[in-house]
């Protein structure tokens, strides 16, 4: 018994990565794998835009809340929400005060929490509950009991937000945060609800008549300038490395039924996918 234990200890603490540098490129490559576990493979993550939906108030929010309540009966939904106008406002003040990017990233969450609380109040009777980072492990419990967890989109990078390549705004925003959350749990589907039908060749608010793209690769989209992208650039970049969420749907949350169609796999919006050769 003692010998077995000693062998076990040796195997565990002296074998494997113990003596290896975790920065060595060959060690990193060896850690790649074709298959990873999907932690919650039935979960469906739905992102509700802050500026595009929430800031429009009752006419935009109430029909969507009804649709979500109906869809909950058939899908394990997790709702994420972003901040919108109030996030932009606090960023504007913080930039004027000369605060660093990590400070901005830490401020954004509070505006999103307001949206989370409003949605939770509306969805409470259908099982809507707030979910914060510390309750990540409770997700199976919440989903199994028919709840609708509602979370904020911003990733918890806070003061530890990476310095942006350009400008001063955090690169890792709400679109990205929900994507990497869905990737982490191995969600079945991820849908972004915005106030446009999907991703167009250019932003139709800027270029009237720009055509809607029905299916486009993340790599092709990365060639567009930021102002024409309907989702954050960091989401698209991260998608190229994703192993679980290989496609997302962007659709119009202001149109009744658009979310239902997206969840049934017949979206009227845009499917953005990770090209086969990318990532893994």
């Amino acid at each position: 018994m003692r010998k077995e234990r000693a062998e076990l200890r040796q195997k565990h603490l002296q074998g494997g990565l113990k003596a290896e540098s975790l920065i060595d490129k060959s060690v990193l490559r060896a850690s790649a794998a074709d298959k990873e576990i999907d932690i919650l493979p039935d979960a469906v993550v739905v992102s509700i835009g802050g500026a595009s939906i929430m800031d429009r108030g009752a006419p935009a929010i109430l029909p969507l809340v009804d649709e979500i309540a109906r869809l909950r009966k058939r899908h394990d939904l997790v709702i994420g929400v972003s901040g919108g106008a109030r996030t932009r406002h606090v960023f504007k003040i913080a930039l004027d005060l000369g605060l660093p990017t990590g400070g901005l990233a830490h401020l954004a969450g509070a505006s999103e929490e307001q949206n989370m609380k409003m949605l939770q109040a509306l969805l409470a009777k259908h099982g809507g509950i707030q979910m914060t980072k510390d309750h990540f492990w409770d997700l199976p419990h919440k989903l199994a009991s028919g709840m609708i967890p509602i979370m904020i989109g911003m990733p918890p990078y806070h003061y530890w937000e990476q310095p942006p390549r350009r400008g001063r705004l955090p690169m890792n925003g709400s679109d990205f945060g929900l994507f990497v959350f869905a990737e982490s749990i191995g969600a079945r589907r991820l849908v972004y609800l915005k106030d446009q039908d999907g991703q167009h060749e250019a932003d139709p608010k800027r270029v009237p008549g720009a055509k809607l793209l029905r299916r486009v690769s993340a790599r092709d989209l990365l060639r567009l300038p930021d102002e024409d992208l309907i989702v954050e650039r960091m989401l698209l970049e991260t998608m190229l490395c994703a192993r679980h969420v290989r496609e997302i749907v962007v659709t119009n949350g202001l149109k009744p039924g658009a979310l239902t169609k997206a969840l049934s796999g017949r979206t009227t919006g845009t499917v953005i996918y990770a090209p086969k050769e990318a990532g893994r």
């Binding site: 113990k18 490129k25 990193l28 990078y157 937000e161 990476q162 310095p163 990497v180 490395c241």
Partner: protein
């Protein structure tokens, strides 16, 4: 809108990364002399210690990789060992003002520093399940070197020093290659161009340095050699200086 200059949150603070495998895992022989050095340095400098993870982090990654768990779970697992190391350092430094702090206590740093305390925290950034999957690998790219760097960058700290068990950055791993040469000074862009197979520092730190607003230099020193940390904090030439042109 005219852009305002970015303020430094705590400009007179030195941020130090306490190596996990390189220092902590060596136990008393390596840790005690450094504790004494910190106590001496605390009289002249304001410091924040960030702990690395080391062997237990690697062990957990190893098992988790074998189980097919995704990067986000690995990052969440990697959070525990540096926390244990930070707590051990805090217990040793308690009588000298060592306080353990968590990301949520970050904004109380001014209080602890004003009281003459020595804040000690985990070096891991609080990304957990939100860690990005790295391209072509599964081990989280942002670990304790990265978190410590971002701590210093956010604070606009006075200096950033990585305490390891080698004299600095080498052309190869000096523990494996006897011909490896010490690099006393190198720019980030030169270092990236060298494309070394192994490095004494997580690669994302170099990327972040390219875009940093404050922390455009850092030093790697040998914590097993007495006085190295003091020399680094006093701005003297020791170990390897990595800087941005």
């Amino acid at each position: 809108m005219k852009t305002s200059p970015i303020v430094r949150i705590l400009p007179d603070v030195h941020v130090l990364k306490f190596g996990g495998q390189s220092v902590m895992d060596r136990g008393r022989a390596a840790v005690y002399p450094l504790i004494e050095e910190f106590v001496r340095l605390k009289r002249r400098h304001r410091m924040i210690l960030c702990a690395g993870g080391g062997t237990r982090a690697r062990h957990a990654y190893d098992i988790a990789l074998g189980l097919g768990l995704p990067t986000g779970v690995l990052a969440a697992l990697g959070e525990a060992p540096p926390r244990q190391n930070a707590r051990m350092l805090q217990m040793l430094l308690a009588k000298h003002g060592g306080v353990y702090i968590m990301p949520d206590d970050f904004d109380k740093l001014p209080l602890y520093l004003a009281m003459g305390c020595l804040p000690i925290m985990s070096g891991m950034p609080p990304y957990d399940y939100w860690e990005k999957p790295p391209m072509g690998a599964r081990i989280p790219a942002n670990r304790t070197d990265s978190g410590t760097y971002l701590t210093a960058e956010f604070l606009g700290a006075k200096s950033l020093t990585y305490i390891k068990d080698v004299d600095g950055l080498y052309t190869a791993d000096p523990k494996k290659d006897r011909k490896a040469k010490l690099i006393p000074r190198i720019s980030v862009s030169e270092l990236i161009a060298l494309d070394l197979g192994d490095l004494a520092l997580e690669r994302v730190v170099l990327e972040n340095m390219l875009h940093a607003r404050h922390m455009t230099s850092l030093r790697i020193v040998n914590g097993l050699k007495a006085g190295s940390v003091a020399r680094a904090l006093d701005g003297k030439d020791v170990g390897t200086l990595i800087y941005r042109d």
